[in-house]
Symmetry: C2
Subunit: 365 residues, 2 copies
Amino acid sequence: MATLPLCLKPNLPDRDIDLHSTPTLKDVAEAAGVATTTVARVINDKGYVAEDTRERVMKAVEATGYRVNSLARTLKSNRSNVIGHLLRSTDPNPFFVKVARGVEEYARGRSYTTLTYNMQGAAEAERRGIDTFLNWRVDALVFSTPVSEDNVAYAVKSGVPVVQVERPRSEAGHRITVKNYQGASRAMRHLLDLGHRSIAYIGEEPGSQGNAFADYVEEERFGAYRDAKKNHGAFDEALVRFTRPQSAEHIPGAGYGARAMSSILDAGTKVTAVLASSDMIAAGVLQAVHASGLRSPEDVSVIGFDDTLSPYLSPLLTTVRLPAQKLGETAAKLLIDQLEKPGSKANKLIELDAEFVVRDSTAPV
Amino acid sequence: MATLPLCLKPNLPDRDIDLHSTPTLKDVAEAAGVATTTVARVINDKGYVAEDTRERVMKAVEATGYRVNSLARTLKSNRSNVIGHLLRSTDPNPFFVKVARGVEEYARGRSYTTLTYNMQGAAEAERRGIDTFLNWRVDALVFSTPVSEDNVAYAVKSGVPVVQVERPRSEAGHRITVKNYQGASRAMRHLLDLGHRSIAYIGEEPGSQGNAFADYVEEERFGAYRDAKKNHGAFDEALVRFTRPQSAEHIPGAGYGARAMSSILDAGTKVTAVLASSDMIAAGVLQAVHASGLRSPEDVSVIGFDDTLSPYLSPLLTTVRLPAQKLGETAAKLLIDQLEKPGSKANKLIELDAEFVVRDSTAPV
DNA sequence: TTGTAGGCGTTATCAA
DNA sequence: TTGATAACGCCTACAA
């Protein structure tokens, strides 16, 4: 027997209870002594309704406890006013939580609802999420960020507007990215200005995603580091530590940062500053510094990336802030704009600035 | 003119595009040369279908790119297999993100979808979220955690199963809580065993929520502290710092913890250990310790609550772990159990154990 | 083993 | 200014 394609949701279990015996338009209409059409006109504030009729209908709405059935409405109108948000992961790295907040708040402002699906970095879960959303007829889809290029293509093919946020994996749909090179360059300039020359880099290995678009992020961050070091005649591989994520689900965390920093410290190489490619890694760097009895920033300056954990660390972490919330807002805006004026482009590319935030973890040599 | 009650979603904007011209059962039926009934039987794997007919239908499904319309299905069956999750906030405190993950994963395992609505601590947003979910005919509602007792009552009244997680505000629906007294007691025992007697407490002021149920959490945490200190003849108000959240949206954070700890340090009171009522507050305590040139745990032992930030701090924070994921899983389980066996109780109260996690921020005096 | 027909709650068209 | 009626896509008796 052939198996069901993913886009067919497993059948609903048989059940006998009727939970939602919510009154319908018809009930309200009867209570008000009018036709359902009239009630609909009142509720949607559309078309002509006599003032006293309106009052009567509103009373009936109250009396019956009527509530709209968005399912029926969407079935009929083909528009759900819902945006589906596919989140790569929310835990442990809270970055995408901030993106989600941006999407939600912007969408709400334009009377869209946002629904969120957490894929925990797994391509199959991502696929299930896309299918769930499409089965529910969401109007548009946000990937923050996509796991699989194929999945993005699959979503685009379905015809809904799509946007890839922060780390796109293809040219499909809209894309919103961050100027990572610029951000990392500013961080390096800051360290160089403070007199640092022995600056280490700890991050993901560029190219480890196996996708040219997605890899661009780490390439830019490391590239800015390397360029800055070269310009000061001091690029030294002994001060670089790369990790390679085991799988899409795995995000390099504090443990990795701590081990990498310890290995640099143990090697005895001179190091007065560290650029980490995420706040989580930077948190680990600070742990290693602390564990070795040193202090930041007195002994080692540390800079992170993202601005997620930075306000909670000791010392408060200087970091390259990714505009997470704005990323989300922009994604929602692009999508809703496209939905509301049909002719518009479906392939915009937007690059947002990173902001450099100086806190307490950097100081002169 | 009367205004629309909240439960009537604002009307959809007029639009002319038809985004989802997805094939329907009818299209598949035509392609396969059978009736829609037969296609439905194949898709739902229900009733008798000849093997070759099934094959033919499956081919037609593939060929047409058919996908189920969950809206129509739910409209008909009155069951959406969707759980609505109302999240108090996700940022900055990532605690509820973990709860959300628990709900999602458990629900998915029983083929329910979870939709999430972020209310950012605002009662009106919570109300909007409830209405949105009910308008979409979700099968059940999770509050993690509710902002307004009235809103919970409103949700329960609608007839959907409801659960309040971690900090209930009433006896309505199911409730899942954590044994905070037990958790805080273990933390105190740990500190006492290490020889600490000058132990400070920094947290929210018990009673500041203005709701007996919600206030119970902070009362238990502080109560365990006070009882332990009294049992060792050493309760001293000079070592206690309370904050009172300005509003429901506001969560005491690292800034508060840092200020409170500094004030204790500045006062010159002897303090060798601190129990903080959240990891975020504890993060601030560590910042103050670091800023004053002291070290943890050598000079001050620190214990947090939640196990959210603890793995990222320097030193790694000893903490009372709230079983966030399990809280979510249990919530989903309760709800789905109730949905699937109608007769069952709608008012269960479950108390989960807190787990005490010893890391690096505590040491003998 | 397969098909016909009616209805879920809403909106849109067309009359009245 | 209001009302009847026909879809939207699916499910499910009931019939064949």
